[in-house]
Amino acid sequence: MTAILETNDLSIAFGGHKAVDKVSVKIPEKKFTSIIGPNGAGKTTFFNLLSGQLSPTSGRIFFKGKEITKLSTTERARMGIGRSFQITNIFPNLTVLENVRLAVQSQAKVRYQMLAHFKHYKQFEEKARELLKKVFLDSKEELRAVNLAHGEKRKLEMAMLLALETEVLLLDEPTAGMALEEVPAIIEVINKIKNEENRTIVLIEHKMDMIMDLSDEVLVLFHGELLAKGSPEEIVENETVQSAYLGGMYDEQLA
Amino acid sequence: MDLIMSLTINGLATGMLIFLLAAGLTLIFGLMDVLNFAHGGLFVWGAFSGVWVYTTTGSFIAGILAAIITGLILGAITEYLIIRPVYGNHVQQILITLGLMLVLGELIKVVFGPEQRSAQPPAFLEGSFMVGDIILIKYRLFIIVVGILIYSAVSFLLKRTRIGLIVRAGVMNKEMVQTLGINIRMVFMAVFMVGAAMAALSGMLMAPYSGVIYAEMGLEFAILAFIVVVIGGMGSFKGSLFAALLVGLTQAFMAYYVPVLSLAANMLLMAAVLVFRPQGLFQVKG
């Protein structure tokens, strides 16, 4: 098993507060890794470090064995690290299709093409439609994104993320605030990606049932440190994890 | 030494005047996140209405009051009609207040006539006295005092009262503040009125300082105010004071030692700040 992403004593502090503290992990290629941990444990911050939104105070990050610690967000995105955000982040005034098309276009070599008509790039549009189908949004492509329901916006984000053709997908609470009813649809999308796309997925979630269903491996962050890692089953059994994160309710929830 | 003292005092006075001008602008931006390019218009209106009352009644104090009242009234109208529809949208704010600036400047000519008007300091502030070889111009000392007073009063308001917090919170999320039982519209209007009154007051104080007022000075001084606000850090009240004094002193000393560059001094200062410290010398937020 090769690690596609690897961190080495990765740390970041915000004015003395260590949000991520000496985390060394290996994220296996083409596997599904989940990150859990209490609120404020540093999960989102860890993602921010991986994707380049933040730069670490110390430690190093490797992507396919190459060090990327000093690279910018865009450079990393182009190498193959894509992420979704905890808050929805789309182009509100553009149509659903235009949203995805922009993402598709960013992958092409025509980023600075300023003389040709975009209509000549039919392939972008086709690809975008295909992706929308994948996330079950094909009926809404002409709607302005702002008018989508919350769950649909998250699906749109997924489509845009898929368009980036990145090898690694970092998903930050893709189902937050979503009705129970909608959750399965998202899980389906994620599952589809996992099975069909052959990509590495890293997921942050608080919904334990989802974690249990999807993950190959689970990492637990606590106060910025890596508290435990292992298969979902191992993690649920882990007593420290139970007292620090799951609390007494977990069993009930599963019930 | 005398020379340096003299340049310093005069530079400080100019700086304080600029500060008074910029204070309203920075207040409105810092608290309400509104870029008010009509600031210069309020400034000229303060100057003209104040000077008009001052010259007809002969009372300087009455002139100052008139300017402040004009500022408050114009501020209320402006906030209600012009600013309210564009809260939260910088681009639109810039565009719309620029339009208001044109209208206010031109209206001055309709109401007060197109000619420039002169204004002299009141008798009790006229002239200067000499301490050793240093000439102290009374009116300038007066301005320095007023500047310090206004700075202290506003700082107190911002730091020691809940008003400052409420306004800042209101900018970030108006609805949320309302659900906390606060009438944010009134608060916003009040802040805008205070900002406008400060602009008007500085117009009135400027009049005897430069001796003349004219309708076009609005845009000119608004640009100066913006330069100061950018140098100080958008929205930082302390920054504006500091930047205004810096600009005042730079002007005074540049004019003496490197007159060639004095015309470009403000612009160069701002360009340098934008390049090396774009958040301004005293930035409060990212």
Binding site: F118 | V86, V91, G105, I223, M234
Partner: protein, 325 residues
Amino acid sequence: MMLRRMETSTWIYLAIALALFIVPFIFTGRSVLFMIMQIFIFGIFAMSYDLLLGYTGIVSFGHAMFFGIGAYSAAIMLSNGEASIMSLLIGVLIALIFAAIISFIAGILTLRLKSHFYAMLTLALAGLFLVAAEKWTSLTGGGEGFTFMIPDLLRDSGVMYVICLLSLLVFFFGLRRFTKSPLGKVLVAIRENEDRTESLGYQVLNYKVIVSVVAGVIASFAGVLYVLTLRFIDTSVFAVDVTLDALLMTIIGGVGTLVGPLIGAGLVEFAHHWLSDLANVHWIFERWIILYGTVYILAVIFFPQGIVGTLQAKFRGRYNGLAKK
């Protein structure tokens, strides 16, 4: 084959363009042509401004700087050398290169910051150019300005008219293509949500700098045409008013559309002419700026899309305006 692929709107524009070529045969008076030429020139200038404001969401307060650079480059070349086509071409070349360099530097420095910083820096730079033009008297004639000769060919206002019209068409169709290119789409994305565009892997700064340079170069060309029609130059080409004019034209006509600024230019020039003529009827029209400003304010509040944008929204039933920031 090519022809059939063209959009209907293109046909309409081409028809209008053709009609415009006939104008000099109908109105032979120079003063009418002069006015129409000014509309073309400011139309070009406003389009370049719209590229910044309407398409990319960048506010500039110093666009006059590029206009002035173009104007002075041409004027100085023509008055110092002989008034030949050659000197004019050299002047144009200098104008474009100079504008490109300045806009590149201004862009690199401030486009990475929040919107108002670019506005302020361009304002400052334009101010510096104004000061320089006033002080460098030997080159610029200072505040009083100077008159100069233009190549004989261009002295015929019919020829000048055709040149202005051709320039307008080239820039209009060029920019239309530009905004509909893949790159143009990215610009709109930047306007709508800059952070997101960045995280899609687009290097936003590069795009903004490209736009800033393109807009600067075009504005500078408009400046060249302007002095050619005026045959006189003074520092007023660097004045804030010039930028404000572009702003008003763009807003009133419609941001984010190219026809908008053109219509805006026509309307503003025409309204200006007409309203100030009405001053003989009633003194209030001497204060036409009040009227003008009021209309403008109302436009920003009630028709933030401008004339063209509002019409488009009506027809398409779709609202496609300035993003809320």
